[in-house]
C-alpha cells in the first residue's frame, strides 16, 4: 500500500486510469438513463414519476458510500500515516456533499407528488440532513487551518466520529416508523424490486460510482499540485527574505 504513497507514482497511475473511468462514466450513464427513462416500465401506482428513483437512489447510495470511503481513508491515514489517504478524504468530501444535496433535492421533488409534502421530519430524511451537515463541517475544518498538512489529523478524527451516523441512516427505516420507503434492495431476503427496474438502478449506481472515481482523480491531482505550488511559493518567500536580509544587512 505504501508503494502508492509516492505522489508522482500515484499521479502516473491516476493519469492512466482516468480515461477509462471517464469513458465508463459516460457509457454507463448513457445506458442507465436510456434503460431508466425509456425501457423500464412505469410503476402501477406512481406512473412515470417513479423514474426519478434512478437518480435519487444512486445519489443517496453514493452519499453514504463516499462518507464511508472518507472515514476509511481517514482511519488508514491516521493509523498507518499513509499521506495520500488524507488527500483522498479531503477530495471526496465535496463530492459526497453534492451527492447528499442531490439526494435531498430529488427526494423532495419526488415526495411532493407522492407524499404530498416537500419535506417531512422522519428518521431517514433527518439523518441524511445530519450527514449533509457533517460533510459541511468536515470541509469547514479543513478550511480553518492555514497549513493544510496540519488539518489532516483533526479532520480524520471528525470524519471517524461522524461515521456513527452512517449505520443510523441505513437502518433508520427499520428502527423507526418512517414515511420513507423501507429497504428494498439490500434486505435480508434479497432485493424486493422487479429486475426490469432493478437493472437500470444498478447500472446507474455503477455509473455514479465511476463518476465519483473520475472526479476524485481530478481533485486528487489538483490537491497534489496545489501542495507542490504551496511548497514552491513558501521556498520563494524564504529565498526572497534571505536575499533581502543579506541585502539589507549590507547597508
Amino acid at each position: 500500500m505504501h508503494r502508492f504513497a509516492n505522489p508522482t507514482r500515484f499521479l502516473r497511475i491516476a493519469g492512466a486510469v482516468l480515461p477509462w473511468c471517464a469513458s465508463a462514466t459516460v457509457v454507463l450513464l448513457a445506458v442507465g438513463l436510456y434503460l431508466g427513462l425509456f425501457v423500464a416500465p412505469p410503476d402501477y401506482q406512481q406512473g412515470d414519476t417513479v423514474r426519478i428513483m434512478f437518480v435519487h437512489v444512486p445519489a443517496s447510495w453514493m452519499a453514504l458510500f463516499v462518507y464511508s470511503v472518507m472515514a476509511g481513508a481517514s482511519a488508514v491515514g491516521f493509523i498507518w500515516r499513509h499521506p495520500l489517504n488524507d488527500l483522498v478524504a479531503k477530495a471526496s468530501a465535496p463530492i459526497g456533499a453534492s451527492f447528499t444535496f442531490v439526494a435531498l433535492v430529488t427526494g423532495s421533488i419526488w415526495g411532493q407528488p407522492m407524499w404530498g409534502t416537500w419535506w417531512v421530519w422522519d428518521a431517514r430524511l433527518t439523518s441524511v440532513l445530519i450527514l449533509f451537515f457533517l460533510y459541511l463541517g468536515y470541509m469547514a475544518l479543513w478550511q480553518a487551518y492555514d497549513d493544510p498538512g496540519r488539518a489532516a489529523k483533526p479532520a480524520a478524527i471528525l470524519a471517524l466520529v461522524g461515521f456513527v451516523n452512517v449505520p443510523i441512516i441505513k437502518f433508520s427505516v427499520d428502527w423507526w416508523n418512517t414515511l420513507h420507503q423501507p429497504a428494498s434492495v439490500i434486505t435480508a431476503s434479497g432485493p424486493k424490486i422487479h429486475s426490469s427496474i432493478l437493472a437500470p438502478l444498478l447500472v446507474m449506481i455503477v455509473a455514479f460510482t465511476f463518476y465519483y472515481l473520475t472526479v476524485l482523480i481530478y481533485r486528487l491531482r489538483a490537491e497534489i499540485l496545489a501542495r507542490k505550488i504551496r511548497v514552491i511559493r513558501l521556498a520563494q518567500v524564504e529565498g526572497r527574505a534571505a536575499a533581502g536580509a543579506v541585502g539589507g544587512g549590507a547597508d
Partner: protein
Amino acid sequence: MSAFLGLLWRDVRLAFKQGGAATMTLMFFLLTVTLFPLGVGPEIEVLSRISTGVLLVAALFASMLSLDRLFQADYEDGSLELISLSPLPLVLAVLAKSAAHWLTTGLPLVIAAPLLALLLAMDPSGYPVLILTMLLATPSLSLIGAIGAALTVGVRRGGVLLPLLVLPLFIPVLIFAVGAVEAAIGGLTPRPHLFILAAILCIAAVLGPWASAAALRLAFE
C-alpha cells in the same frame, strides 16, 4: 484519583472565579426561553406545545456556547500542555474537565429547567421526566462538545466553527430527550427514550474523552 479530582476541582473553582460559570449560562438560558413567548405570542396552548423543544434547544445552546472555555484558556497560557505531560492520562484529564464543565454549566441548567418550564406553561406531568432527561442529556452534551472544543482549540477562527461541528452530533441527544418528555406528557412510557439517552451517555463517556485527547495531542504538535 487525587489528580483527577484535583483537576476537576481546579476547573470548577476557575469557572466560578471567572464568572463564566453558572451565572452567565443561566442568564443566557433564561433570556433565550423568554424570547420565545415574546416571539410566538402568549397563547398558553401554543407555548405549552413547544415548551419541551424550546427548553431543550435553549439548554443545548447554553451548553454549546460555554464550550470554548473548556480548553481554550488553558491552551493559550500553556497549562494544557503541562496537564498533558503530567502522570494523569490525557483521557482522564479530558474527562475531569468535561465533568467540571457539566458541574458548572449542565447542572445549573437542570436545576433551572423546571422553573423555566413554568414560564412556558409545560404540562406538569412532564416535570419529573424533564429533570431526569436533562440529567442524562447535559453530561452527553459536555462530553460530545469536548470533542468539538478539542478539534478547534488553536484554530484561528475556531469559535465560529465549533457550533458547526458539534450541533450535528448533538441532534440525536436532542431528538431522544424531546421524545422522552413528550412521551411522558402524552401518557406513554418514556423508558425507551431514557434508555437510549443513557446509552448515548455511556458511549460518549467512553469514546468522547478518547477522541478529544487524540485531537488535543494534535494541537500540541
